[in-house]
């Protein structure tokens, strides 16, 4: 059914539809409304049979979830930015223990300097923590991805992080179509753990592993990540078939059939990019520009990306985080996926710390990127003040 909801509330209701049994709430802008929303649904009885815990820190939030998941019940929590870093020890622990926790990451910049606005630095910090990471383009996908995430997680026995841009999505009111409880119940079966803390057949979870076996454990984790691509795709397709909308899955293409330039990005900026590309294709009339929306960042769908971009001449990767002193992160991975193909890769770093991204700025850099590492909307004069000369190693 259609609703006009704040993104966070849409996610909260989607979470409720997935019948979590333990929800851990700790406030951190910008995801706070999500856990507030779920709290409301529990208090009002709309989400029954659910323990809602107000914990004392993000470390506690994920830890409670680890405990409850290990005890065999579907568990959920949410965090952002600094919170993700504070719980990082447990984030690795959860994937190591193969606990299929679902956590929302309201993407927000990492301090210092302190910044509460949107970018993807927090997600990038956890990219090798062994969690699956899915990015939502808009609030409809944010809601849908959570429903898919529980199924993906519990199928693969791997935790899933659903990333949605802080403020831009979490605080935006939009139309969202939320499925009925019965529909979700059909799509997402109850959680049946293969191992848990069960007094009937006791086992020890989280043994110390010596050099003798540690590599095998890590290799098997690697294999499961590779298997994840197929599962995410399958479940995405399953979801689209049932709910008649194309959300989730690994990635989506937009006018890439005969595009010379394809823009790759993750998250809410894709909306602005699509508008920009539409305008540019109309003005010079030959559909030169296409867009690739990347949903699954981990596992990174190399083959699917290569397939989608192989005919492009230039790939412009717009990303909201970057490796200091190095350049793009997503761009490097895309470049790896396109190894051997004669395709120019341009990295556009944009929207750091909530910096505004307008269609005109995008149009300008899509038409004529200056160099292969562009800092979109960088205030040149401010930089010149600091440095007598601008470092031009890739500097715009």
């Amino acid at each position: 059914m259609l609703y006009q909801l704040e993104g966070s509330q849409a996610v909260a209701r989607a979470i409720a539809l997935c019948r979590p049994e333990v929800v851990c709430a700790y406030p951190i802008t910008p995801q706070t409304h999500i856990v507030e929303g779920v709290g409301e649904l529990v208090r009002s009885g709309q989400l029954g049979n659910c323990q809602y815990l107000n914990v004392e820190s993000e470390m506690a939030a994920i830890s409670v979830a680890i405990g409850s998941e290990a005890a065999g019940v579907r568990s959920y929590t949410a965090t952002s930015s600094q919170g993700l870093l504070y719980m990082m020890e447990a984030v690795y622990n959860a994937s190591g223990l193969e606990l299929p926790i679902v956590m929302t990451l309201g993407n927000r910049a990492i301090g210092s300097p302190l910044n509460i606005w949107n970018d993807h630095a927090d997600a990038m910090s956890a990219r090798d923590a062994g969690w699956l990471m899915l990015f939502a383009e808009n609030n409809q996908e944010a809601a849908d991805l959570h429903i898919q995430a529980f199924k993906i997680a519990e199928t693969l026995r791997l935790p899933v992080m659903v990333c949605m841009d802080g403020f831009i999505l979490t605080h935006a009111y939009e139309k969202v179509d939320l499925p009925e409880q019965s529909e979700v119940d059909e799509f997402l079966p109850p959680y049946k753990p293969e191992f848990s803390l069960d007094p009937e057949n006791p086992c020890a979870i989280g043994a110390m592993v010596s050099p003798n076996d540690f590599m095998e454990v890590r290799y098997m984790a690697h294999r499961r990540q590779l298997e994840a691509c197929a599962v995410i795709d399958k479940i995405g397709t399953e979801f689209s078939a049932k709910f008649k909308r194309n959300t989730g899955g690994l990635l989506r293409t937009y006018h890439t059939e005969n595009a010379e330039t394809v823009v790759v990005a993750m998250g809410s900026v894709l909306g602005t990019i699509k508008d920009t590309v539409d305008d540019m294709n109309q003005t010079n009339g030959n559909g030169k520009y296409g867009v690739l929306s990347l949903v699954s960042y981990r596992p990174f769908p190399d083959n699917e990306i290569r397939e989608a971009l192989k005919n492009a001449k230039r790939v412009i990767v717009v990303e909201k985080a970057f490796a200091l002193g190095r350049g793009g992160i997503l761009a490097r991975e895309v470049e790896l996926a396109l190894k051997g193909l004669d395709i120019e890769i341009v990295t556009v770093i944009a929207g750091l710390g909530g910096r505004v991204i307008t269609k005109s700025m995008l149009a300008e850099v899509f038409r004529q990127p200056k160099g292969n590492l562009v800092f979109l909307g960088l205030k040149e004069d401010a930089i010149r003040q600091e440095y007598k000369t601008v470092l031009n190693k890739g500097g715009a």
Binding site: L97, R157, I205, G206, V209
Partner: protein, 535 residues
């Protein structure tokens, strides 16, 4: 998908990791000798019967007692309980009242008419025992258990030796003594009283072995000039008169002097009181702590008003005047010398209790049997005299003369004779390490005062009934530390950090050396020192 590899592990797989290899020392359950058993002259396994008493199994406790000593009730009266002195609990909150428990159970046996197990062993060999004192009767009891035919020849009117003629009735009632003697007779021991053996030569041919249990019943003579007509008697004769004709008790008059420092002197003095004497003094040449008498005996005498004059020797007795020489005693060197002074005290009669000698007339002229300079029959460590098949024991070979010692030697003699008759050599069993106080961990014993019962009666020949009740027996027995031997307190089993001690269904404990790391906590926390760390 099965369980995650390595990160999730089934229960108890650590049992594959045998940590026993960590050990440098290993705990072992041992049987250490409880101090009480060590000191018991009759070789009783006191701890064992105390343990049975704890369980209220009085009959089994009695059976355990009589495995080594057929006279528990008598022991309860006359034994000087060296076991209690040695009891480790003495260094904690008071030793276990072993003597009174033994007495109480001995009395139960008499009251309930418990009898000895009939032994099935039969042998056609016969043994003659000369003398029916504690050592003779005990030897007879054991030899019957070994299946031999036994004859006892007793020169006196009644059986019992020193138990009857050396211990007054108020300490050892005759109904008790007679009951315990009768029990031995009922085993098939043939006893003949008023049967004096002049010389064992006559009997050598009739028996396969002879046991000289003649004791030391001859009063030692003394070189004091005694004016004729002075009333002087030896303690041994006094006791025999009282015993043999109870209705015609001798009259020693109002003031009596007893000369001597041993238990016999004390008995003589207390008997004098009971014969009507009002003022009884004991004269003894050394100091009170040198007195050979047991301190409980000395206490009993003093509490009955008997006076002890120390550092005095009697130099002369003229009628009712007794001339005493005062003595000087040098503590370090132990040399006793006359001080030159003397004093005179008045006594209606004087009783001499200065020791007893062995009646050796019956072994005169037999080569191979020799008498030591102390007048004791000399025997080898198998208690055999120079003559094959002729053994000797009890007071006749002992310096330290107590009923309990005599019983101990009676048992040993029986074993030696048995070995001799079987043609093998008697080998005493080896002795384990002693469980001294240092080896215990007394933290686990609840403080619990020893239950005292006063033994003093009024000045008559009746014994005050002073046994424990059944529940008192159990309660006092419970105070036993069970030194050196496991009493199943489960401490070791409970304190082992590695679950490396197995407790079987029947409560027995076993160390699992696959896993025991040898830390030693079980040994430290064992209250009674029943675990030893060995390399």
């Amino acid at each position: 998908m099965s369980k995650p590899f390595a990160t999730v592990v089934e229960s108890r797989t650590s049992l594959a990791n045998k940590t026993g290899s960590w050990r440098t020392v290993r705990p072992e359950y041992v049987h250490r000798l409880p101090p009480c058993n060590v000191t018991c002259p009759a070789g009783e396994n006191i701890q064992q019967w105390l343990s049975l008493a704890q369980e209220g199994k009085f009959f089994e406790a009695w059976q355990e007692m009589v495995k080594n000593n057929p006279f528990p009730a008598t022991m309860g009266r006359v034994c000087y309980h060296t076991c209690e002195k040695a009891c480790n609990r003495g260094q904690y909150d008071g030793s276990v009242n072993i003597n009174l428990i033994e007495r109480s159970i001995g009395d139960m046996a008499i009251a309930k008419g418990w009898s000895f197990k009939k032994s099935e062993v039969r042998s056609d060999k016969k043994v003659l025992i000369i003398g029916s004192g504690p050592s003779g009767l005990t030897a007879a009891y054991f030899l019957r258990q070994f299946g031999y035919g036994v004859d006892i020849f007793e020169s006196r009117k009644y059986l019992g030796g020193m138990m009857r003629y050396g211990v007054p009735k108020y300490r050892l009632p005759r109904r008790v003594l007679d009951a315990e003697i009768k029990r031995i007779q009922d085993c098939g021991v043939n006893t003949v009283c008023n049967r004096k053996v002049n010389n064992i030569k006559d009997e050598l041919s009739n028996y396969d072995a002879i046991y000289l249990a003649v004791g030391a019943s001859v009063a030692s003579s003394v070189t004091i000039d005694i004016e004729p007509g002075s009333k002087v008697v030896s303690a041994v004769d006094l006791f025999q008169k009282i015993e043999d004709n109870p209705n015609d008790l001798p009259n020693l008059g109002k003031t009596v002097v007893v000369y001597g420092g041993g238990n016999t002197a004390i008995d003589a003095a207390r008997t004098a009181l009971r014969l009507g004497a009002k003022d009884v003094k004991i004269v003894y040449r050394r100091t009170i702590n040198n007195m050979p008498a047991h301190e409980t005996e000395i206490q009993d005498a003093l509490s009955e008003g008997i006076e002890i004059l120390c550092l005095r020797t009697i130099s002369a007795i003229n009628g009712n005047k007794v001339i005493l020489d005062k003595m000087d005693y040098d503590e370090e060197s132990g040399i006793l010398s006359r001080s030159g002074e003397n004093e005179m005290i008045v006594a209606d009669s004087v009783v001499f209790a200065i020791g007893q000698a062995v009646e050796s007339s019956l072994i005169q002229g037999i080569d191979g049997i020799s008498i030591s300079e102390k007048g004791l029959i000399s025997v080898d460590n198998c208690m055999m005299t120079g003559v094959k098949g002729v053994f000797a024991g009890g007071d006749a070979i002992l310096g330290k003369r107590t009923v309990t010692n005599a019983i101990g030697y009676g048992k040993k003699a029986a074993k030696c004779i048995d070995a001799f008759l079987q043609g093998r050599e008697y080998i005493p069993n080896s002795k384990n390490e002693v469980a001294n106080f240092k080896k215990l961990n007394t933290e686990y014993y609840q403080k619990d005062e020893r239950k005292e019962v006063s033994r003093l009666g009024n000045l008559d020949f009746e014994e005050k009934n002073v046994s424990y009740s059944d529940s008192e027996v159990v309660q006092e027995a419970m105070r036993c530390f069970s030194c050196g031997n496991c009493f199943h307190c489960d401490n070791c089993y409970s304190y082992c950090p590695d679950n490396a001690i197995i407790k079987h269904e029947d409560g027995t404990l076993e160390i699992d050396y696959d896993y025991c790391k040898g830390c030693g906590i079980c040994a430290s926390e064992c209250p009674c020192g029943a675990i030893k760390m060995t390399t």
